[in-house]
Symmetry: C2
Subunit: 414 residues, 2 copies
């Protein structure tokens, strides 16, 4: 594998023109952290700017349109996630959404004392579950760390942990650290066979990996829009509640946006029909406009094409890492089986933190560090080139071979 082969792949890439739809500083470092914060689509910048103009021009009258955004943008996002209309909302943050969904699920499974999660999952998921376990008197069973703790518990270990005492199974579709991808349908089926509900965190799969919420029989899901959905720092989260569960599930934050006939402002809470009872307070309009505009760009690319390119990119990164980084102490921790990984590749190294910091400080590559020893490479197939992957690994290898800068301080990146 040499650079011209990567250039060749770019020339043949049907998604190559999508890169022009993004605002990209040509002199910047190679950006391999699209799975932490995606780059801005030009259409999103225009949509937010347009939202500001709308605010100035229409003032409070703008709410006639804005009020429907959580559901309308949710429906649009639902199409990307294999969810029919009336099941997805864009609102609040991922954390608040997981809290609402998990609370509702636990209330619907009284008498079942266990929540199953994964010790390798993203912290906010684990913490929310821990809080709910404490407040509802349940036991949080976090799988792992086991033989393969770097990638999270596998489907077998998870399925073995689910039994009739289980109220809720809450897992990440794609592990934030290792990139390991779980078989959602199989685990969901196992949970349902035992009467448990499932809640899937899609933060690292929405917009990169095919998701079929309806077809997989998923009960609940949540995620964010600032990674592969490119909607900006802290853009709103989303949630999915399967249609036939909506009438029975009740979330605990009874806000005015979740009430039937909201503008009657009447006495007594009465949950709205459909997924709307999972709304809480006034939604952030600029964030919703950003998500809406970004989804247009995703639709123009098509999730199948994105996934096809993503698979080629992760294969390329694994091959390059084996070839160039392994001799220097780098070790691929992402599953080598393409059917078991998502859209990013993680490389463990004893000096991962110094490696990462030096790459960033010298404006060479922006990867992401995950404690204690992992460097994550998250190419976004919609704007990342194969040659970026090639150059990134070359630069990473060059640094390892040539020596890293001494670094101090703590890294703080979402």
């Amino acid at each position: 594998m040499n650079r011209s082969a990567a250039e060749d792949m770019d020339r043949r890439d049907p998604l190559a023109p999508m890169r022009d739809r993004f605002a990209i500083d040509a002199d910047g470092p190679i950006y391999m952290d699209g799975n932490s914060l995606g780059r801005p689509p030009k259409a999103v910048l225009e949509a937010v700017t347009g939202g500001l103009a709308d605010w100035a021009g229409r003032l409070v009258g703008g709410w006639e349109d804005w009020i429907d955004l959580p559901a309308a943008v949710g429906d649009r996002l639902g199409r990307l996630l294999g969810a029919g209309p009336g099941q997805v909302l864009v609102c609040d943050s991922t954390t608040v959404n997981i809290y609402k969904l998990a609370s509702a699920a636990l209330a619907a499974r009284p008498g079942r004392p266990v929540i199953v999660g994964d010790a390798a999952d993203f912290p906010t998921d684990r913490y929310v579950l821990e809080g709910l376990a404490a407040s509802t008197g349940r036991r949080l069973h976090l799988l792992g760390p086991g033989t393969d703790d770097e990638t999270g518990a596998g489907a077998e270990a998870i399925c073995a942990a689910i039994d009739d005492r289980c109220a809720l199974v809450c897992l990440s579709h794609v592990n934030y650290r290792s990139g390991a991808r779980l078989d959602v349908a199989a685990i969901t089926e196992r949970a349902h066979a035992h009467g448990a509900l499932v809640l899937w965190d899609l933060a690292h799969s929405a917009g990169s990996v095919p998701v079929e919420l309806d077809r997989w029989g998923v009960d609940l899901a949540a995620g964010c829009t600032y990674k592969y959905l490119n909607s900006g720092p802290g853009a709103p989260g989303f949630l999915y509640v399967r249609r036939d569960l909506q009438a029975d599930l009740r979330q605990p934050i009874w806000g005015w946006f979740g009430r039937a006939r909201q503008f009657e402002m009447a006495a007594g809470y009465e949950p709205a029909a459909g997924p709307a009872s999972f709304l809480t307070g006034t939604p952030g309009v600029l964030g919703l406009l950003a998500v809406d505009a970004s989804l247009q760009v995703m639709e123009d690319a098509g999730i199948d094409a994105l996934w096809a390119k993503s698979q080629q990119m992760t294969r390329l990164l694994v091959d390059l890492a084996d070839d160039r980084l392994a001799p220097l102490g780098g070790r691929v921790v992402t599953p080598r089986d393409p059917d078991r990984r998502g859209a990013h590749v993680s490389v463990a190294h004893p000096r991962a933190w110094a490696w990462c910091r030096t790459l960033i400080d010298r404006h060479l590559v922006v990867p992401d560090f995950r404690t204690p020893d992992v460097v994550r490479l998250g190419p976004a197939p919609i704007y990342t080139r194969y040659v970026d992957c090639y150059d990134a690994v070359e630069l990473m290898a060059g640094l390892l071979a040539g020596g890293l800068d001494p670094v101090t301080g703590s890294r703080r990146v979402t």
Copy 2:
């Protein structure tokens, strides 16, 4: 009172130059709904646009600065609310914040079976309390509607309802509908005398009415930034937790932003020190930048000057309404005592809805309708002119005298 007197007041108004700091369409209708959605300060438009550029340029590296915004902008907002540093956060929505604060308060007062609120308060406050009463097995005692239900229960009725069974008193500083303002210090003192905690909703006072959270001994407070704080549709909410309560109060949404040493991403939730344990998930950066920029404009005006002008404006509106609207069936429901009202004036009329709709449809005046029969006039002293108040009432009187349009449909405005 004639128009030239109002023009005279504008000429003498020391805040008159502030109007130029806002993006205002000179041909638009008279905007009297600043207490629903404030107008955009030019500095806010620039700050959001700058945030977009920062996203494009710094990408994930921007988080080095963004991560501190909830606390930093909170401290800045705290100065406007009489709160010392380390007690205010800008985060989530008002609804989610009231939920977190009220939950924490109830957990800190076990064995006390009553929550006191006001039936005339904003719906989301009542609904959140109703949900928490149900989930914690408490009774929600909503005061009123009584002899004076249009303005909300008065301080006397509220104080009489507080006793040793009370866990939490949750009230609005300024009533969203009538504009009635409560004596926060007196009610807080009464609650404390009985061992209850207080939670004040400042949505209709922050940025218009002087607030002295520390001096008044307030325990908890929350509010929004899109009304008198002019930070845009759905801009983030805020919350206040008094310093000496922070170590003991625990809110139920255990997210990664609320954990000590967040980026260790370690096992087990451990609440962060200070107010940060009341953070949840990733905050919306554009909204925080908007609030920050808007606070600069508020600081340049000064809350004392804003309040002085606001009092003159509400007096003018009450006088004009008595003079021009009362003969046509309009009735001021805002307290006539200036010490008992906030920054807006409400006028009841049997055809309030049609009146409001016609004013908006004909592009004359944008007031706000509050069910069933109230038209709210919310001048924002930072950009509204006295002559706007005069003209608005003239136009409103003219319509009532000349006949309203027939209207259909439902009104949906936050």
